[in-house]
Subunit: 378 residues, 2 copies
């Protein structure tokens, strides 16, 4: 029996990834993942990559792509020079790097709850003590015991879809400054905005504290390319580069070439407009079907962006207990319990992805969920 | 001042990567990296990737690619079913995953010294206590204090170019079995074989112990694709998958598609033959130039494969002290000290890559090195 590291006791496979494997079955309706619509890839076009992309490249990423991302960030209000931008092998990697940067066993960090489950898993794996951060009072308890890091997804959060107000964003930035807490802002959904709302990065409002802001091209271009990026303050950037180097040397250069091509494509704005329209329509159709099949059984808010509904069942039902019955009838969803810091307690919430299934599949799936809930209520 | 993790005290950027940045200067002769010859990419051809490669994929990798790698491994004597093969974002990632799997702060592990410097850096970052493993007596000291893991590159090692004999390989496998030590075999150079020698994976000889065997497509296809793989014993495979999931969800699918295309290409054997011939010629020309310019100043063995000469300076010179003088005259090499477990002591060794520079650049660079060494000897 091999002796393995103690932190493996805190490692669990993602329940969503396990479900995605099940979702490969052809007639399964999956609301479980955060998968882009397959039709959204059809209008991507990529020229042949240059041979120079075959060689080893810089750890930080391709200079042209970093410069372009710097311009993009300036457009959304975040000033960060290209030399403090690093390309990532998807933004999941940024979570691994940030955890390595900050977390010793027992280190206190603050996270939203619910929050992105694969971030919670990484933080737990590295032994963090997680406390809950509420947008309404982000620094509650920080005067007594400041966390090292605050992990937030202020724009169209996964799983809730919530978007922080300007006042909430400023309060968090000020709290990070006042208590010297590293801000870690995860922003993969910001371009999937269906209604107006505040989207200025919190990182743009921080004045003294160190910060990491990360974005993803998985939702706007293609997740199969595994491409994300981070921007960071001077105090932590270089160490993040060393961590990236140790993790995988550098990000694959084909994807970097293709994403730069996409960012420079004159047809890009038009394509994004089509994508946002498609997803807005899906959200609206999905909500109509929810009202039809889940009305009176659950409560939810319509998300102004992103990819998910967060529905809370009435009647004290445990959503997780319903999952096997739903799967048996060909429908997958993600039980809310996986997104909670204290995942011991049952949760009546379910996360429902609306971007992947088409209207007819969504209607079929929600009908099954309604029936399963009604049966559980007796 | 942000509070960062204690393990960052053990994190240093790679001196090779820093030098590679310097090597971007057009007239610099670099013997420092492990870069494939740029001309080797010219005969790669890749068809357009299918749109399905744009979506999220399985953490373990594409099923077709894993099946194909399983067949390849069987051909070299290592039986491992496809369901215990995982595609990596380059084999540097496998080092990060193996370290997370096994290393707690203070955990004992055994490594060759010298060894691949970016592996030593990762092990040190996670807090391993490293002891030195010699092919001649691999389990020395293990009866008293068995390490958790033995990290070896038995075939054309980086930096020494050494290839373990069959008896040495069997002895290590038996030692891992006897002391329940996880074998971690890193095998990126095996296909770059210029002379006959034993190349059977040590992992194929292990009977009871857990093991991880990893390979790379960086040396045979293209490093810019960032593609490697690992095969592992049943006792550790699933946890490695969970670790991969937490690190970057899955490897980019374009590179997986292209590498599978390459592996299935009927022209592959012919292309590999050309590549091996090219590198064999470069090795031989490089050695002739070494004899001409460094004869009497350093000792080395001709490597039977891989990408490096390991030259040990005579006269007690410290190779690191010569580096600034060489760089000032347009030549880069990697001082041997970076590959040592105890990197406090000076080292008279230099690692010289022979695959990247062409004959004229190699001659020019070695002439400079010879002059720099003669000056240092007074």
């Amino acid at each position: 029996m091999a002796r393995l590291s103690e932190r493996l006791d805190n490692l669990h496979g993602s329940p969503v990834r396990a479900m995605l494997t099940a979702a490969q079955q052809p007639d399964m309706v999956s609301f479980a993942g955060g998968l882009p619509a397959p039709d959204s890839f059809a209008d991507l076009s990529f020229p042949p990559a240059p041979l120079s992309a075959m060689q080893y490249g810089p750890t930080e990423g391709e200079p042209d792509l970093r410069a372009r991302i710097s311009v993009e960030l300036a457009c959304i209000g975040l000033d960060c020079p290209a030399h403090r931008i690093m390309v990532l092998s998807g933004s999941q990697q940024g979570i691994d790097l940030a955890a390595k940067l900050v977390i010793d066993a027992g280190a206190p960090i603050a996270v939203e709850s619910p929050a992105y489950l694969a971030a919670l898993q990484v933080f737990q794996f590295f032994g963090a003590q997680m406390s809950c951060l509420s947008p309404a009072d982000p620094s509650a308890g920080w005067a007594e015991a400041p966390p090292r890091l605050a992990y937030v997804t202020p724009t169209f959060q996964n799983p809730t879809g919530r978007c922080w107000s300007g006042a909430e964003r400023r309060a968090l930035a000020q709290a990070c400054d006042a208590h010297d807490v590293v801000l870690f802002e995860d922003d993969p959904y910001r371009d999937l905005a269906y209604d107006d709302c505040e989207r200025t990065p919190v990182a743009a409002m921080v004045e003294q504290a160190d910060w990491i802001y990360q974005g993803s091209f998985s939702k706007t271009v293609a997740p199969g390319l595994r491409l994300g990026f981070l921007a960071a303050s001077e105090g932590v950037f270089e160490q993040l580069v060393h961590l990236k180097q140790a993790a995988d040397l550098h990000t694959n250069r084909l994807s970097q070439f293709y994403v730069l091509h996409y960012l420079n494509d004159p047809g890009r704005a038009q394509r994004m407009g089509r994508l946002v329209n498609l997803y807005r329509e899906r959200r609206d159709m999905f909500e109509a079907a929810m009202q039809h099949h889940l009305g009176g059984l659950a409560d939810w808010s319509s998300p102004a962006g992103g990819l998910f509904f967060w529905a809370v069942l009435r009647g004290g039902l445990d959503a997780q207990a319903l999952l096997p019955r739903a799967v048996a009838r060909g429908v997958l969803f993600t039980p809310g319990v996986h997104f909670l810091v204290d995942s011991g307690a049952p949760s009546g919430a379910m996360r429902l992805n609306f971007s992947h299934a088409d209207a007819s599949a969504a209607d079929r799936g929600l009908k099954v969920l309604g029936a399963v809930i009604r049966e559980a209520l007796g």
